[in-house]
Amino acid sequence: MVTETVVGEEIAKQLYQKRLNHLQALEAESLYILREAVAEFARPVMLYSIGKDSSVMLRLAQKAFYPGPIPFPLLHVDTGYKFPEMIRFRDEYTREIGAELIVHRNEAAIAEGASPWKLGTQNCCAALKTRSLLDALEEGGFDAAFGGARRDEEKSRAKERVYSFRDAAGQWDPKNQRPELWSLYNSRLRKGESIRVFPLSNWTELDIWLYLYAEQIPIVPLYYAEEREAVIRGSMITLVHPGMRLLPGEKPRKMMLRMRSLGCMPCTGAIRSEAETLPQIIEELIGFRRSEREGRAIDHDEEGSMELKKREGYF
């Protein structure tokens, strides 16, 4: 069972008793947001990326509607480049908690062989993630989509609302966002418009890890350090993965590695780490002086690249 991968249960239980203050405040706020959206939108859906933030968001959804079931489906936009460990975890875990899962792929683009080395990372993301996501939302008739984005991840996200308004084309206009005061969220929409709801807006990376630990939430094993085959490309360590094309002269080596954030296999870098358990990851994180998105090729394409992607409809 997936839940057995969690370590340090005894410590977590003790900590749980004391868990108060900032994590509790963050949790309460997130539950409030989830409930508001479910009460006010006709057809919400939760974007499930299989990453650590999604895992936290999913636990919060279980809590918000307890003892009822999660009252909306989960949507995974599969690019076809996700790590096999992620897909396995996704299928096992959603089955275990009894959540409804929708998997959407841009089959046309995948059939045409869309790839970062053929299209460049920007265009590849546009086809396999952004386009695919917008299609899935339209097909499902969803008027609200929960996302696990946090404001501390990246500069353009620092200004994101909890309720992020998207026009009928799914686009984000940073200058035309609704003011958001207190916890009074404006959920009113006209036909075709939608809202992305971010219940984890005020969480930081450290908060996520602390919560995963205190709540004993299972995560994809790729987050834990292990001897893994990889090649070093520029400043990025790329794990050897199915369908990988080695560049001339490249020789995979075994290294102690783990993923700090999960994305597509070719574009998400691993980090050197000895952290094999959640406490070790947290301890390592305290010492980190580099941001988690650093390993993402897409953020460094050009200055302000995330902002551009968001305008087009990327999460």
Binding site: I11, L15, K18, R19, L20, N21, H22, Q24, A25, L26, E27, A28, E29, L31, Y32, R35, E36, A39, K63, A64, F65, Y66, P67, G68, R151, D152, K155, S156, A158, K159, P174, K175, R178, P179, E180, L181, W182, S183, L184, N186, R188, L189, R190, S201, N202, T204, L206, L210, Y213, P279, I282, E283, F288, R289, R290, S291, E294, E303, G304, E307
Partner: protein, 571 residues
Amino acid sequence: MSSTSAAREMQQENLQEQRFRQFLDGHLAQEMLRFTTAGSVDDGKSTLIGRLLHDTRSIYEDQLASIRASRVNRSGGAVDLSLLTDGLKAEREQGITIDVAYRYFSTARRKFILADTPGHEQYTRNMATGASTADVAIVLIDARAFQRAGELLPQSRRHTYIASLLRIPHVVAAINKMDLVEYRADIFAEISAEFSELAMRLGIGSTAVIPVSALAGDNVVERSQRMEWYNGPTLLEYLETAPLALRTAADEPFRFPVQLVVRPNAEFRGFAGRVERGEVRPGMSVRALPSGRVTRVKKIVTHDGELPAASFPLSVTLELEDEIDLSRGEMLVGDAQATPQASTCFRAMVVWMHEQPMIAGQTYLIKHTTRTIRASVRKIRYRVDIQSFEHSPSAQLQMNDIAEVEFSASLPLFFDAYADNREMGALILIDPVTNATLGAAMILDSLEDGEDAIQENSQDDSAAATSLRGQEPVALVWLRGLAGEAVELRDRILQAGRPAVMVDDRLIPDGSLPAAFRALQLAKVTAISARPEINAAIVDQLREMAAGSFYTTTDAAAVLATIPTGQEEAR
């Protein structure tokens, strides 16, 4: 491996675990403080925030490297710390901050959420947004600009005023650019006196004044060696120790707006919501509003087990002893405690946030707690000049205007004054057509019901009007599919001096009719519907609630006949 080295290794492991647990305990016990900064482009606000983040080691190396490599550097220093917070491309190009940005950092004591708001005049709306959730406001004052002008700049007065308007518990003035006035104590004293006087005039309870230099790093995180005349806390020390608006005491009145009903099966029915004030415990006697039904709390249900008590700001689910009708938009309050005010008419301070002006007589949607209803602007009492704080009459409000406004809502609102409880006294105004968020309002107090016109008419006491007024409970009239007659009936009841409203607004689905009717009953307002169909179970429910005062289509003529008016005589 020898046994001693194995033992030593184990000991080391234990030590490591202990150290980690200590660390975790510390982190899990951290409090959370939300603060906001206000300052204008030239006050050096971005530099101050950059300094706070930098000196608390909250900046990642790659982020620091990216601003070092940036093509832009406006600071005059080696690294432009302001670039750390200037997020969007448009802003970097124009060199201004155009929207609220949220920053996060923590120290051993607290986790901080910073709402970084632009201070330029046209962006009052952003300052109000950032201030709405803040525990502390930092007002940035440029010492050199003060020295030149001989008084506080208009923007500093404005920022302080908005902090007071949004009722931020603590306001601290950071006197910046002390390096440019040779770290002089006399200039600081002068600014400090003027700020304190302003704060007192605005009724701000808790204030502090701190001399800093964001550029040089004096008194932001590190204590300055160049201002030995100053003995107070550094800015960070202040933020770490400012008293939090702690969970409200258990004896304060309980408030619990219902967000949604959790009903997974026939055995369980719970009410999900957030405790906005006071405390709830199993066994506590609670009153449902607007129905007035009293029952007891059976259990406080959460995913992590039942709780012995819950207080602000916990999100919980309450199971009640009795099966009472209660839905989203309604509220549970402590039975033996002070009840919220209930009124359709109230006055509030409004911050207008949209290019389309607010006009007296217009109808807007208001979202208050978990409820959205219609309200019209009865009157704009006065507009506040935020430079002089003087009041002046105004027929409409422009973007960034602040005014006291009288509202008249379609249904009674249950609220506390914003000054007593932010969550129970705050509302947003929404355009019913475009759905844009137009403004924010903070409720001051309720007003006498009814328009002046109705009050005058009520002198004219016809027999039927008297009989209708005497009826308890108030009438519910369902003129099935007869929209024209329904409107006529409403007008005639109004002319007879009785309040009456149509309940066919699309915001009131069938399922909410009982709640809407109950609210109207409480306010003694006759409800009229011309819906072609209403679910039979709901009709039964309404009939029961209205007792003998439920009229349907077949009774329409009779209903009309019982309400003679001047119009009838003219016929």
